[in-house]
Structures are given as structure tokens and as C-alpha cells.
Symmetry: D2
Subunit: 266 residues, 4 copies
């Protein structure tokens, strides 16, 4: 079932400024880009580089003044979405190299400080069962509250204030999984069920699967409940929101408008 | 001139716990491992994996009770240490892929928040000249104060409190360089001049060099002034101290003793 | 010269909730309330208590649903506004008891952490001359940026990010003065020059004046430059914004609209 | 039953520095100072002022070099220690003026951010019953861990890390009580059962008691379980540790040794 995506946003740069953009559906085996079209304002230069873990691309632009981005795509998602409740977690030494770094603390995910909490709350559970319990805990204890978080809000803040948006839900899930020695990464994405419509974010965890080369795979976990794993179009991944922001500016920028539409076709 | 390294440390784990260790000189072109010997306590299992950016190795151990590590090595450092004052910085789109991520914020380096400060302090300088001015600023404004920082101290804390240890000096340098759109990473290392003798840390920045494939290279910057780039033995690199801790424990651990000796031979 | 004030604001409480309001010109010798009128929505109960240091009043309300506040007043300000550049600061043991607590750290003013910075920047200056240098520093280094701070932004954040609104300017001034062993407090107020018109905030410092009982007096310091001390109508004082918020709610509240008009009459 | 106190501590000041000391049993109705003796090093000047809320005294000293404090006292505690489980809490508008400020946020007690948590955990309980449930929660969820906190550790940090010392236990209790609209303050004290022997800290809450002028009284709450309310000798009170530190220095100070002995006599 194809997913149709249409987004536009713009921002203004006071002076010539380097900007990183990451807003397009990634070309990866689990999703096929049926069609896509990106239109960007003119810039001093524009380059594309593979993004974190080679998933998706970053667009590097140097520009000044008002800058507009329009992106339209149709994507066919082919992701398998198994029940993860019975999947085991791998010990650190069993992990493939590129999953390993997702055990460590990152900007918004101070996992080391959550070891006591996860032991207390989820001490009896392992692997996929623990991940599902963490997702359940976050879904039940946080209230989805647009406007309640800022670019400096960490998982620790969200955990205490018991509220946030998709970014914050993902950070708390990731932090609790890493504190449980389960690799967890941040995924920016498009998904049809997101309300209000916007770029979305969720977590992915690495769990064992003996049938797969490398001994395991990444599985989507969305504590907001808004995105179906089988309908989620990935943009990029990273340790947390700091790695896959749709707009990173090396200098003052003023954000303008943004519209995002994501629909399922029949 | 060979550098002789000898270190011992131990810690105790209350229960079977996964631990990551990173304490050995890395095998990289710029330093030759003449001899080395690592002796570790028995463990349930022990594996080695390449560390961040493929520089050095992480030792993954699952153990319980008292755990001891002893490491001895002789290393010949062959690093070139040019004057970087005339080197240019590369625009983000010119950077090789593996330098790129070192422009972004990380756990201890909230670079985005320092854009106004670096513009104000160093606005007229670019590239290597700015890096040297940053090193000078940090050397002049921070006071080396053992015991003044903890595992949660960020570059923002150190900048305001104007004090820290090698880890903190490196974080402030890295943060200011990234805020200047210059890739900067954290290096854990051994160096003869460190007082009191201990594991050491410093920053590396990526600057242009047309004679090199990839268009640039990493250069050591030590605002503490304790390590000579030509005598520094690298252990590993990462975005900041969170990536290259010599000991990361996924559960309660109690640190015991540590001795580090680093000497130059004639 | 009378100052005419007119303000209206409203908020909604999901369930019966205790609320503290502090929005009226204080009755103190330095300003005469010529006329005033407060109109509040009906509430389960409503009480008035003296506010911090006995300056102004807090209105305590228990209410539910939409709650509206309208306040109109004409105030004649009689404050003396001497040049403070020659005034000395008092040693802690010379301070009157009620000035003393304004030397200590508070929620948004981590003064203890700024001791090195003020020593480095202003080490040669004392008393009023240092206060004026601090005001100048803050005026020159911060950029007034509506929307850049939140209810958790401290003076440390504003100092590093070099931006904020009146609240943040006041917090940085207060923090630097306390770090200089000069008592400093937070003043919420009305003033004609504030743009855009809103409740305003600034700092007050306690400096020596032998002609006054108690050995000193409080002097207004506004690093935003928007309020003239001689035209400023005080609402209340406290250690920082946490003590004199115009609205503190013990439960969920949703802020609605706010208008503030302050004009000088001839 | 008299309590015998003996304490000594010293610190060194690099240059003439103002210091605030607060280390003596307060003269208040609920405890009788049978005998006391304070011996301090010579200083440039030394003054005494009433401390926060008029409970106890602060000693203000200006000194240089090594400074020693020795204090010996015998104190008879006469405090009533009723069961508070049935006591009601007062609405904000019913509180006496000096209890009111203990509803607000302070440096280490970000109560506003804990409103969701206390509602979720203790939503069915009011007054003394809620206070006892909070004490129980903190006692059960935090682990007493000397060395785990620093001068910047807040109740939010301790809540997440689930550990701390007496200061941190008190801050979490205070924060949760204020978030419950129950006034709570920080008490520094001496108590016989403290292990290892040291200055101690605990919380006090204000609850209704119709038989008392003002409509209520302060009751001791110690989540560490180390201090018996009937044997606790108060030194001072404040919003949190920032108000009643036994040593506050306006300039660099180096702490030396400290011994505290507190015993019950028969």
C-alpha cells in the first residue's frame, strides 16, 4: 500500500550560512521510493552526502535570505512487523559493530542515569518483552503535549514532567532501552496517522534474530501509538534528535512555515 | 622516540555485569605498537570489537566481583605536527563523510548554544587560526582543577565555572570549534607530560590539506598544554568523553585503584 | 508625572485549582497609588496576603474554568534615582537582615558558579561602579530575543546563549552582582518604555548610603534599557522570577490572552 | 534527654574572603540550649545575624588563611512528635505569611515540574497522610549513597538517579510536598543516629492544627530514617540547602577536615 507524502517548509538566513537538511524518504530495502521530487531554493552550493549509518541523505546547502523546500514522494513500505515479545536481546559482545554505539549515552539520552529506574520497573523482563513494557510505560505515563518541550529538553526532563511530543517519547524509550543494555536509535520518519500532521519520530531497538545475518535486526517502537510500523516511511536514523534534525543551521536562522501531509492510497 | 606505557586499574562488580573497556594504544598508521601486553581477570566472556571510527578496540567483558586490568606497551609515534595556523577549514559540503558527524552536538558538547559566543570572540578568524585562538582562550580562562568536574559536567558548565580537567578542556575546545563549523572530536590518549600521571584527553580538529586524499586531516589540539602532539599515543576517538570512556559499566561498579606511567625513552 | 496602567489577562483551569496572582502596583513610600481597580472572576475563595519582603500583595484564588483579571491604576512615582557609580558596597556583616538573603543562590541565579567570571571581568571594580559595569556588559553581550527563553532558563543558560528577555537580563545582572557579594533582587514592574508592552522585570541592588537608616538602599538596574527608574512602578520583589510570577498555578492551567498598556500622562 | 554535640572543622581561604557559617543549635522554644561553646579562629571581623525565618544565627566572618571552628553544646529537646497521618493540609489562602513562601520553587527543589508525578503517585491522599506516603516512597526508592551527589545536584537529579545523601532525600521530600501544595522547608540539624556521623538535613512540612495560633505547625519528616524527631537538634531552616549551608564562601575556599559527634546522654 503506497504512502503519499507532501511537505513544504521555509526559513530565512540573515547572512550566508551553512545548513544541513534531512527531509527525504531514505532509499533502503524495506521501503521502495516509487516517485519523488525535491525542489529547493537557489543556493551558493548544494551537496548530498550519505546520512548517519548510511540511511538516507543529508542535503548540505550554503544560502542566504529566504529558503524554501518542497518535497513530494510516493513510497511503498515493505517492512516486516513481527511480534517482538519473544525476541531476545544480544549481549554487547554479540552485537554487530554498527549496533554497538547505540548502547551509549547521547545528547538527549542520559541512559547511564536510568539504570536504577529500569532495574526497578522492568527488572524481571528481558529483550523484546522488556521493550514492550517500556513502550507501555511511556505510553501510559506521558501525556502528548505540543509545545511542552524545546531543543534542550532531554529524556530526563520528559521523564519527570511526564509529557512531551514524539521526539520526547522516542528519547525516553531509547534511554530506558539503552539503560537495559538494548541498543536503541532515533528514527525520523513520515507516517499517515500523525496528528497534527508533521514530521514524526520514534525509536528502533536491536533484537536477536538468528535467521538474519549479523544475528539481529532493528524493530520500530512508537510509544505515541500514532505510527504503524508497516506504514512508516523512514527519513534517517541517529543516536537521538541531534543527529537527524530536518534542519541544522550553523548560524542564525528564522523558521517560517511548515506543512506536512501523509496519506495512504488504496 | 619510543613512549613506554604502563597502567593498572581495578573495579568491582556486584553481580554479573557487561563492561566496555578501552585502554590500549590504537594500531593506526601514525603510531607503531612496538610491543604490548594486556592482562585481564578471568571473565564469563571477553570479546574485542573495533572502536569508534575504527580507531582502536573496545574490549567487551562480562564479569563479576573484582576485575583487574594491566597493560604495558612501547609505542613509536610518527605523527607529523605541522603549524596549523595557516590551514583553512572546509565547508560542510566539502567534508569527507566520516568528518561530518563531528560538526553536530553531542552529550557534553552543546555546540549549537555557543554560536553567539564564538562569533563574538573569534569572529574575524577562520580555520587553523581560529582553532589556535580557541586553544589560547581556553588555556588562559580555565584553571586546571582536579576534582572539580563529574560525569555530568558539560562544556557549558566548564565554560561558566572556568575550571576543569583534561576532559573538560577538550570538551570546551570541541564545542567552540563545532560552533565555528570546524569538525572536532575527542581523543583519549597517553602522553608523557601529564601531571599527575593519568589517562589523558584532548581535542582533534579537521582542517584542509590539499595534498591529502579526502582534502584534509585531523590535528591534535591540547588546551591543557600537557601533551606534545608528537609524543601523544592515541587510544580512541569519539564525539566526546561518552564515546571513549576507558570503563563503561551496564550496572553498578565500584572503582578501585588506578596507576598510569608514561615515559619517553632515549 | 503619573503613570497610567491597564492590563487584562485570562487563563483556564481544568479543575478546582489554587492560584497565586501578583499583578498590582505595590503600596510603598516611593510610589503613590492615585487610583486603582482590580476586577477578578468569581472564585471559590479569594484572599490577599503581603508578598515577599512585604512589598505588594499576592492574591490567592481557588477557582475552576476560565478566569479573567482586569487591573487599572494611576500611580505617581516619587523614587529618587541618584548616580550610583560612587556608592560603596557593604560587607556581608554590615548588611541589614533583610538584604542578607539576596546574597545567596536562588532558582534561576546560580551566583556561586559565576565567582571566577566576575573576578576576571570586573575584578578591579567595587560597589556601584561594578554594578554599572555589569549592567553595561549584559546590555552589550545579550540580544533581546522574545521567545528565546522558557520557565526553566537560568542565568547560566542566558549567559552562554547571549540572549533572552527582560526576565533573563535581570537574572544575569542579579547573578553577577551576588557573585560580587552585592545583594541583588528581582523586581517585577510596569514601565512605559517596554516594547512590546508587557509586564516587565529588572534588578535591584543594595548599596551603601550613610544618610539612610540601615546604612543602604535598593537601586534599580535595568540592563534592557527599557525602563527609566524614575518611571518604574513596582509590583513585587523576590530572589528571582520564581518568587514574583504574576501567575503561579498549583495544577494544570492554560494561559489565554494578555494585554498590558503603560503610559505617561502629562 | 539531653543531646551532646561536638564538632570541629577547618578550611583555608587564599585571600581575605567573606564567609557565612551556620553550625550552632538554634535557640528556639522546642529545644533548650543547656550549655554551648563556639571557638573560632581570629578574623578581620566577625558578626552574628539572625538566620532564615529568625531560626538560629549566621556567623559572618572575614578572614584569610586557615580558619578553624570548634563547637560544643548540650541541648535538651522538648519537641512534641505527634502522629501526623490524620492532619489536614491548609489551602494557600489559609497559610500564615511565613509558611507561604515554602510553597514556591527554589534552587534545588523544582516543585512545579513534579505536579504530574505527585498527582499520579499520591493523588488519593491529602495532608499528613500524603506526607507520610511521600516519605515512604523516598525511603523505598532512593539508596543512601555517600559521594553520589554534588553541590549542583537537584531533587530532579536525585529522583531519576534514585540515590543521594540526607540533603538529597530532604530535597526530594520537599519538592514532592510543595508540588502537593503543602509548605515544606529544609532543616539542617544534629541527630544522634546519623551514620556516618555528620551534619544532618531533613524536611519539615506545615500542616493544620486548630489548637495552635496560626492554624498549623511544622512537623519533621526524615526519609533517611536516621533522625528521631524527638532527638533532633535544629541548626537552621530555609527553602533548601542553598539557604542553610554550614559554610558559604564568597571566594575560593579549600575545605579541610570535619568531625561531628552527637550522643544521647542518659
Amino acid at each position: 500500500m503506497p504512502i503519499t507524502i507532501s511537505t513544504k517548509f521555509d526559513f530565512t538566513l540573515d547572512q550566508p550560512t551553512d545548513v544541513i537538511l534531512q527531509f527525504e524518504a531514505a532509499t533502503i530495502p524495506e521501503q521502495e521510493i516509487v516517485s519523488c521530487n525535491s525542489v529547493l531554493s537557489n543556493s551558493e552550493h548544494c551537496a548530498r552526502v550519505p546520512a548517519h549509518d548510511g540511511i538516507g541523505e543529508r542535503v548540505l546547502v550554503r544560502a542566504e535570505g529566504k529558503f524554501e523546500v518542497a518535497y513530494d514522494a510516493v513510497v511503498e513500505v515493505k517492512r516486516l512487523t513481527p511480534d517482538i515479545s519473544g525476541l531476545a536481546q544480544l549481549a554487547p559482545h554479540e552485537l554487530p559493530e554498527d549496533a554497538f554505539e547505540y548502547l551509549l549515552d547521547s545528547t538527549y539520552c542520559p541512559a547511564d542515569r536510568f539504570q536504577s529506574i529500569v532495574e526497578e520497573e522492568f527488572g524481571e523482563l528481558q529483550g523484546g518483552a522488556r521493550v514492550l513494557a517500556i513502550r507501555e510505560w511511556v505510553a501510559n505515563h506521558l501525556t502528548y503535549t505540543p509545545g511542552s518541550s524545546t531543543s534542550t529538553t532531554t529524556a530526563l526532563d520528559s521523564y519527570v514532567e511526564r509529557r512531551g511530543i514524539c521526539r520526547d517519547y522516542a528519547h525516553v524509550v531509547i534511554t530506558m532501552c539503552r539503560a537495559s543494555t538494548i541498543p536503541a536509535r532515533y528514527v525520523s520518519c513520515f507516517a499517515p496517522g500523525v496528528t497534527p500532521p508533521d514530521f514524526h519520530a520514534l525509536a528502533e531497538v536491536f533484537l536477536a534474530d538468528e535467521t538474519i545475518e549479523g544475528g539481529g535486526a532493528w524493530y520500530i517502537v512508537d510509544a505515541t501509538g500514532m505510527a504503524e510500523p508497516g506504514e512508516t516511511v523512514k527519513i534517517g536514523v541517529g543516536r537521538d534528535a541531534a543527529d537527524v534534525s530536518f534542519l541544522t543551521s550553523f548560524g542564525a536562522s528564522h523558521f517560517g512555515n511548515k506543512t506536512v501531509t501523509v496519506t495512504k492510497s488504496d
